[in-house]
C-alpha cells in the first residue's frame, strides 16, 4: 500500500479476518443476523454481518491520503452503508427500467437515477 498512512505499522485492522475474497455463497448471508453471536472460531463470524469484504473496504479508505487510521468499527459501518447504497441505487434505477417497460436494468437507468436523485449527485461524472 503506497505511503498513505503515516501511522502505518500498528494497523488497527483486520487482515487477520481472512474475510477477503471468500466466496460467500457457502455461508448463510441472510442479514437478519441469526444471532451471529457464536463467539466461536470467531474472526470470520463478524464479517457475516457485512457482505462486502472489510479488507477491501479498508484498502479503499486508505487510498485517501488524509486518512491515517480507521477503527475496525468504522470500516464495518462503511461496508454496511455501501451495501445499503447498492440496494438503494439498484431499486431507484429499476424505476426507470420499468418506465421503459423493461425487465432488465441497464446502464442508462443508472444514469437517469443519478441525474434525478439528489443523494446521487456526488456520482455525476465519476463513472466510466
Amino acid at each position: 500500500m503506497a505511503a498513505t498512512a503515516p501511522a502505518a505499522p500498528a494497523e488497527p485492522e483486520l487482515d487477520r479476518s481472512g474475510a477477503e475474497d471468500e466466496p460467500r455463497g457457502t455461508e448463510p448471508e441472510e442479514d437478519g443476523g441469526n444471532g451471529q453471536a457464536g463467539p466461536t472460531a470467531g474472526a470470520q463470524q463478524q464479517h457475516r454481518l457485512a457482505k462486502l469484504p472489510l479488507s477491501r473496504i479498508k484498502a479503499l479508505m486508505k487510498a485517501d491520503p488524509d486518512v491515517s487510521l480507521a477503527s475496525q468499527e468504522s470500516v464495518f459501518i462503511i461496508a454496511k452503508a455501501t451495501e445499503l447504497f447498492v440496494e438503494m441505487i439498484a431499486k431507484d434505477a429499476l424505476v426507470y427500467a420499468q418506465q421503459g417497460k423493461r425487465k432488465t436494468l441497464q446502464r442508462k437507468d443508472l444514469d437517469n437515477a443519478i441525474e434525478a436523485i439528489d443523494e446521487f449527485a456526488f456520482l455525476e461524472g465519476t463513472l466510466d
Binding site: P39, Q45, A81, E87, D109, F120
Partner: protein, 148 residues
Amino acid sequence: MAERPEDLNLPNAVITRIIKEALPDGVNVSKEARRAISQAASVFVLYATSCANNFAMKAKRKTLNAGDVMSAMEEMEFERFLQPLREALEAYKKGQKGKKEASEQKRKDKEKKSSTDENDKSRDEEEEEHMDDEQEGENEGEEEDVEN
C-alpha cells in the same frame, strides 16, 4: 503496485448478490449496469470516507471512528441509513466482544504454558488487533453518540 482508488473494486459476486436481493424476482441486470453500480459503490466508499474523515479531523482525532461515519451519512443526506447502521453496529460490537473474550482466553492459556518472550510477542499482536477499540474507549467516547 501503485493502487489508484479507481483500481480498487469490490468483488463482483458480492455486488451482484446485493443487487439481486434488492430487486424483485424476474428482474435482470445488464453487465454494464452491474459494473456501473460496482464503480458507484467504490466512489461511495471514497466519498463517505472523506466526509467522515473531515469530522475526525475537526475533532482533532487521527483515528476515524464509527461516529464520524454516522455524521458523514447525515451530511451526505443518507439519513435513511442511520437506523439500520446503528443496529448493525450493535450486533457487530457484540460479536467483537465475543471475539475479544475468546482471544483473551487463548492468551491466558498460552501464558500458562510458555515463556515470557512468547507472551510479549503475542500480546503485541493482540493489542494491535484491539487497539482501536480500546483507544477509542479511552480517548474519544464519540461513539456514545452513535449508540444513542
